[in-house]
């Protein structure tokens, strides 16, 4: 039987439209109210200057809807009571509730943002040291970033810098001491000139020291990394750079060699110190016969010539006065260095360590220190906590000059790392193994804290205790090995511990991980084809299957 479509449509329409005059009036009033409400909303949202009119229109619309509902309240009530009406209201409530929940979640999330860095190298997180710097700020620091919009040079730095500054601000939110703003220097040249900006992009950090003196520091591209900003904040807040002196004149490693393949160069280590916000300078004690008062620590990397008595005494007196020494030696180091550390309770043990339990590339004379071999007791944990692996290509061992129960309590000496139990000291360069009766745990590195040397009076002028860190190898910090495993971190952390800059210095650049998906043209076509056709095809098949089952 063929139904007349037009007749069916008319019947449906007649069911929807009210049959009496009152119903028609009610419908017209309600529709007018809806229209007024809609227009009011549009005006309210898009034309703020007509807000009052918009609100009046909306109120009028609501009134009209209510009047319309009131006129036909019996019909409406009847509809609601019906099964169909109940279902409709239920559905409407569900939809409304769903939207409301979504809106509420959005509002909550927007007001209480949580930042989660999901990158493996924590690329978008600030180092804990940076966070500590920000939390310890006494006075406000303002960073004014001068970037020209649509400038290609500025654009290349803009996003990463803004992310970083935003993270700094976010991390200082507890004390709200760090703020930043972006300025277009072409639009505000007076401000730029007042802050002595002569090139862009640049960031000017302004702050005050503890005496209330205004300080400022300017960073220019490309120095916009975390460590640069941390350094700028420290300078603008009056925290001075500490000075490290690298001793020269005794065949020490050359800190001017920067070639990364150089096995004797010390340039990368020196560069690492600078990156840790130290002012680094070489010092010839033999020439000047003085150790400057501003020396935060002395570094002696791999000496091969004896210290003179005068030099040894100068270093000893410096240590007595609360000085700090980072000494790395090698097998065969002249005896004057052993004498120097003997006074502080430590001695070098002859021979080269052989570790049959853990070594690099099956070279027993290059002990590989695994995470569990790091000493993590206080205070050494500050140096070793975040480390996982280091190695020493040819190292001697250290020990205390006295048995543990005879060591004076004013000297605390602790190994920083230990070898495995399958270690021994070997004197013959040709032999790479140990006798079983020689196996012992050895310490290729030690840290010492001492109020005074053994059997000597303390320095009356000393304001703090002496600290010494000893490494039985210098090759591990040569350019060739410096950035392998955690070698650089162990060395620089030790320096941070000596200078008590654990909270300030160690904000090292993070390795950027290459995360791009590299695909060939054919692979691009495959991905495109799958996304354009495969998924829709799958959905079509599923739909067909569903239809077939319900058929």
């Amino acid at each position: 039987m063929v139904r007349d479509q037009s007749t069916t449509g008319t019947k449906r329409l007649s069911r929807i439209l009210p049959s009496n005059r009152k119903g028609v009036i009610s419908l017209l009033i309600s529709l007018t109210g809806l229209l007024a409400l809609f227009i009011g909303l549009i005006f309210y949202g898009f034309l703020p200057e007509t807000q009052n009119t918009a609100i009046t229109t909306m109120v009028l619309g609501i009134l009209l809807i209510l009047i319309g509902m009131f006129i036909s309240y019996k019909d409406i009530l009847g509809f609601i009571i019906q099964k169909k009406g109940r279902y409709s209201i239920n559905s409407s409530i569900m939809v409304f509730a769903f939207i409301l929940i979504g809106v509420l979640i959005y509002v909550l999330a927007a007001r209480n943002s949580i930042r989660i860095d999901t990158t493996a190298t924590r690329q978008y997180s600030l180092a804990s040291q940076t966070t500590e710097i920000l939390q310890n700020l006494q006075n406000p620091i303002t960073a004014t970033a001068f970037f020209v919009p649509n400038d290609s040079t500025s654009a290349s730095y803009r996003i990463s810098t803004e992310n970083l500054l935003n993270e700094f601000k976010h991390r200082s939110s507890e004390n709200a001491k760090f703020t930043y703003k972006y300025i277009d220097p072409d639009l505000e040249p007076t401000l730029a000139k007042n802050l002595r900006v002569t090139e862009y992009p640049s960031i000017v950090f302004q702050g005050q020291n503890s005496d209330g003196v205004d300080l400022s520091y300017t960073l220019t591209a490309p120095l916009f990394e975390e460590r640069d900003i941390s350094t700028a904040i420290m300078i603008a807040s009056g925290i001075q750079q500490k000075k490290i002196y690298i001793i020269s004149g005794h065949g020490e490693r050359d800190s001017t060699i920067m070639d990364i393949n150089d096995r004797l160069g010390f340039g990368l280590a020196r560069d690492g110190m600078r990156n840790d916000n130290y002012a680094v300078q070489t010092l010839s004690i033999a020439q000047y016969e003085i150790i400057p008062d501003d020396a935060a620590a002395l570094v002696i990397p791999g000496p091969t010539i004896d210290l003179s008595d005068i030099e040894a005494n100068l270093i000893h007196q410096y240590l007595k006065g609360g000085g700090r020494l980072l000494l790395s030696v090698d097998p065969g180091t002249p005896n004057s260095y052993n004498k120097l550390i003997n006074k502080w309770g430590i001695t070098m043990i002859d021979g080269t360590i052989i570790d049959l339990g853990s070594s690099l590339a099956n070279q027993p004379k290059t002990p590989l220190i695994q995470q569990e071999q790091f000493v993590t007791v206080d205070p050494i944990n500050v140096i070793t906590d975040p480390l996982s692996q280091v190695y020493f290509p040819g190292t001697i061992a250290f020990d205390q000059v006295l048995p543990a129960d005879e060591m004076p309590d004013y000297i605390r000496a602790k190994p920083i790392v230990g070898t495995t139990m399958l270690s021994c000291l070997q004197f013959n360069e040709e032999i790479n193994t140990c006798n079983q009766d020689q196996f012992t745990i050895l310490a290729p590195s030690m840290a010492v804290e001492a109020l005074k040397p053994i059997n000597e009076e303390s320095d009356a002028n000393a304001t703090r205790q002496a600290k010494i860190v000893l490494f039985g190898d210098t090759d591990f910090i040569s350019n060739y090995h410096f950035y392998n495993f955690n070698n650089s971190d162990l060395y620089l952390n030790s320096l941070n511990w000596l200078t008590e800059d654990v909270s300030l210095a160690s904000v090292r650049a993070k390795a950027l991980t290459y995360r791009r998906l590299v695909v060939t043209d054919r692979e691009i076509q495959l991905i495109r084809g799958l996304s354009w056709f495969a998924l829709p095809a799958l959905m079509t098949i599923l739909a067909f299957m569903t239809w077939w089952r319900r058929r």
Binding site: F147, P185, D186, E188, P189, T190, K193, V197, E199
Partner: protein, 186 residues
């Protein structure tokens, strides 16, 4: 077929369309400043130039084109073409590196209220253009310039103003001993 679902979908699509139409498409591009194009500061034909008047640091020089040859307006002396030849071309108008604003409300910020230099160009038609040169940008790469009586502020390369100012400081007097024979016309 369920017409209600289709109707609801159409309504949702309509709402999203309204939102996109009213909010998204009308949003200005995300830049910190005004994202204005960098057109020519002004652009006039070489042959239209008649008189060029340059004032810089209390130095004033004026040049008039007579029979296709540029001369000093006051003395009537011809100019040294070795130094002068490119200058009229500069006056035809520089390409601006940036249009700062079309509605300059704070000329003192850019030195336009007390210009460092003024260039007056008289055209063949008798029309006059007065160029006000303000300060340089902090990086010294560009100069702020504005046409007198207009609200626009442009950045032009600082080398443009330096080259013209130099004419006022060191006028291109013709010296037969050092200069080549003048060449007529462009």
């Amino acid at each position: 077929m369920n017409y209600r679902i289709s109707f609801i979908l159409i309504v949702i699509a309509l709402i999203i369309s309204i939102y996109v139409g009213f909010f998204e498409l009308r949003k200005p591009p995300k830049t910190d400043g005004e994202n204005l194009e960098a057109p020519w500061f002004y652009d006039i034909a070489y042959d239209e130039l008649s008189i060029l008047d340059i004032t810089y640091q209390d130095n004033n020089e004026s040049f008039t084109k007579i029979n296709g040859q540029w001369t000093f307006t006051k003395s009537g002396d011809k100019v040294d073409l070795n130094r002068w030849s490119g200058i009229p071309l500069l006056f035809t108008g520089p390409r601006s590196s940036r249009l700062i604003t079309n509605d300059l409300t704070n000329p003192e910020e850019y030195g336009i209220d007390n210009p460092t230099a003024e260039y007056i160009i008289t055209l063949k038609t008798g029309n006059i253009l007065k160029i006000l040169v303000g300060t340089q940008t902090p990086d010294q790469a560009s100069s702020y310039v504005s046409l007198d009586g207009r609200g626009s502020l442009f950045l032009v390369p600082a080398s443009w103003t330096i080259a013209i100012n130099d004419i006022a400081l060191n006028p291109p007097y013709y010296d037969p001993n050092t200069a080549d024979q003048p060449i007529i016309g462009p």
